[in-house]
Amino acid sequence: MKLQPLLIGLLSLTCTPLLVASPADSQKGRVAFVRCMACHGVKAGEPHKLGPNLHGVVGSRAAAAEGFAYSDALRTANITWDEDTLRRWIVNPGAVAPGNSMAYVNTLSAADIDALIAYLKSVSAGP
């Protein structure tokens, strides 16, 4: 069964390390990550690709991964990747930090994006 988007939203808002996405949801997030993985690694210590490694990105300060040459637009945007900001970023990066470098067109639904964020959190919890 699928979680209702609203429920996922609530879960995300109140998320603690104890709340883990269901296997089906994590599969959905893993599928959504197919659109990201050419540019982004997600395992700890994996080198940056064209985009920065996203290990631990949820909740972190923007432009904080070590050793990645971020655009000025993102570096100076004063953003923390809380889930709402991440959601808006994935829908349209240019609306969050105009002039940033992420050359990307979103094709993910709101539910996909929620699953993607859950996936990013779950892989960041592991090694």
């Binding site: 599969q27 599928v31 197919v34 993985m37 050419a38 690709k49 240019g94 470098s101």
Partner: protein, 474 residues
């Protein structure tokens, strides 16, 4: 609509992860997915689907892997007949090459390809780049007089108003999906200048058939890509080595010589029939054929009317190349470069010098659009004499210095039908949202269905999208 069994997907993914060191060739019953076309788009879709544990079979019409990546291995210098330059921002290509252990190497800047050394042969007269910039018969506006007319085109339309790499498909920008002529006229480009631009126009046979929005799409791609500095690259040993490595990395079969003629929905499966009588079935199909090849495939049920119109009508660029092997570097005798722009029959010549040595084993004569017709019609036996004659008009010392190694005519190949999709005025508005729409269990890929990037990276992007669509059916 078939669905993929979630448990199977999860198990499959785990199994693939566990067995990735020595993957066993999957016993092929009915595969989950049949991919049509072993170019970058189809192969990227196939690889991604296998990463999620699906059984995939690839059908390729020719005997060669790679589609419009095509390295001429039997010619001196191994020139590329297809996709040539890989930008630093081509994330999917770079990542796939790295993952498969395919070496990439920077294309060093060749002094032969320095713009300042470019030879202009215009209206039958040879000039240096400097001479051409101030020539009385140079009709280009002052700001771009030193540029090649085709290079000047992207400058002359002004800065792209597209805010992002995907904005070319936004309805707000469809007002630009008109011929480029009016905007060029407004920017002070006269008819003579437009004629020169048309001599080597890559985006339409003539400017009246060139969509301003398509030019902005190109320009926006260049702008966004330039944010990622880095050398232009090629695959070590030739770009075709990448799709070959992708095909080898697949667990499923890549069957060659399978010219697909029918794609038919049959209950929960889709069947694919080939000209050799072979027939295959799967839950899903990824059709990664260029449209001219797809025109020979019958879909049952038929594609929706607008999608069918798109398949029939989307234009493809006509490109003919004459690959010349250099027996003697004739240009050295004349103290010039073989790098040429002309409005005569040879149009453009690019020396092949990926190591930046200043020497070239081969040259490619690159002919676009209307200029291709006379070269295409020429009997093979006459080709050498005609090339010698035309080349000698420009470089008098070139007689006997080159051998025509190969004539490539992309638009005459029934499997390609052109070099790349060229959106004519009005076609982006009509077709860009329908061209990649799934049809039942058939999903579409290929550079013509890319939504953000273009060329090789656009092909990879489209394969990724098609795979994602199928994986979402869990």
């Amino acid at each position: 609509m078939p669905t993929l069994n979630r448990r199977r997907l999860l198990l499959g993914a785990a199994a693939v992860a566990a067995a990735s060191a020595a993957p066993a060739r999957a016993a092929m019953k009915q595969p989950d997915v049949i991919v049509l076309g072993a170019g970058l788009a189809g192969l990227n879709a196939a690889l991604l689907l296998e990463q999620f544990g699906l059984n995939v079979r690839v059908l390729e019409a020719s005997q060669r892997i790679g589609g419009r990546l095509c390295t001429l291995d039997d010619l001196a210098g191994h020139p590329e007949a297809g996709g040539t330059q890989i930008g630093a921002a081509y994330a999917r290509i770079v990542d796939t090459a790295k993952r498969l252990g395919v070496a990439m190497q920077p294309n060093e800047r060749s002094p032969l390809l320095n713009d300042r050394n470019l030879v202009f042969h215009v209206n039958g007269q040879r000039r240096t780049a400097e001479q051409w910039a101030s020539a009385a018969d140079n009709p280009l506006p002052a700001a771009v007089r030193a540029m090649t007319p085709d290079g000047a085109l992207l400058r002359l339309i002004g800065a792209s108003p597209l805010s992002s790499i995907g904005a070319w498909r936004d309805s707000a920008n469809f007002k630009y999906d008109v011929s480029a002529v009016e905007t060029l006229t407004a920017h002070g480009v006269n008819t003579e200048a437009m004629k020169l631009i048309d001599a080597t126009n890559s985006y339409g046979d003539t400017l009246s058939e060139t969509s301003l929005l398509n030019l902005y799409y190109v320009q926006t791609n260049l702008r966004e890509i330039s944010r990622f500095p880095g050398p232009v690259m090629g695959v070590a040993g030739g770009n075709q080595r990448l799709p070959e490595a992708m095909a080898r990395a697949l667990h499923g079969d890549v069957l060659r010589g399978r010219v697909v003629t029918h794609v038919k929905a049959e209950g929960r499966s889709t069947s694919v029939r080939c000209a050799d009588g072979s027939k295959y079935k799967a839950s899903f199909v990824v059709c990664a054929l260029p449209l001219p090849a797809m025109r020979n495939v019958r879909f049952e049920p038929g594609l929706p009317a607008l999608h069918a119109d798109a398949v029939r009508q989307l234009a493809y660029a006509r490109v003919t190349q004459l690959h010349l092997e250099v027996k003697r570097p004739f240009w050295e005798d004349e103290g010039v470069s073989p790098f040429l722009w002309s409005n005569g029959p040879l149009e453009r010549i690019f020396p092949n010098d990926p190591t930046g040595s200043g020497k070239a084993d081969s040259l490619v004569v690159w002919i676009n659009g209307a200029g291709t017709a006379s070269w295409d019609a020429m009997p093979e036996a006459d080709l050498q004499a005609r090339v010698d004659e035309e080349l000698a008009r420009i470089y008098p010392s070139s007689r006997g210095a080159v051998r025509v190694g190969r004539r490539i005519t992309w638009h005459a190949s029934p499997l390609a039908g052109g070099a790349w999709a060229n959106w004519l005025p009005g076609q982006i508005e009509r077709f860009s949202h329908v061209i990649g729409q799934p049809h039942g269990s058939v999903h579409f890929a290929g550079e013509h269905t890319a939504q953000a990037l273009r060329g090789m990276e656009g092909a990879m992007e489209s394969g990724e999208r098609a795979a994602s669509e199928i994986l979402a059916h869990q």
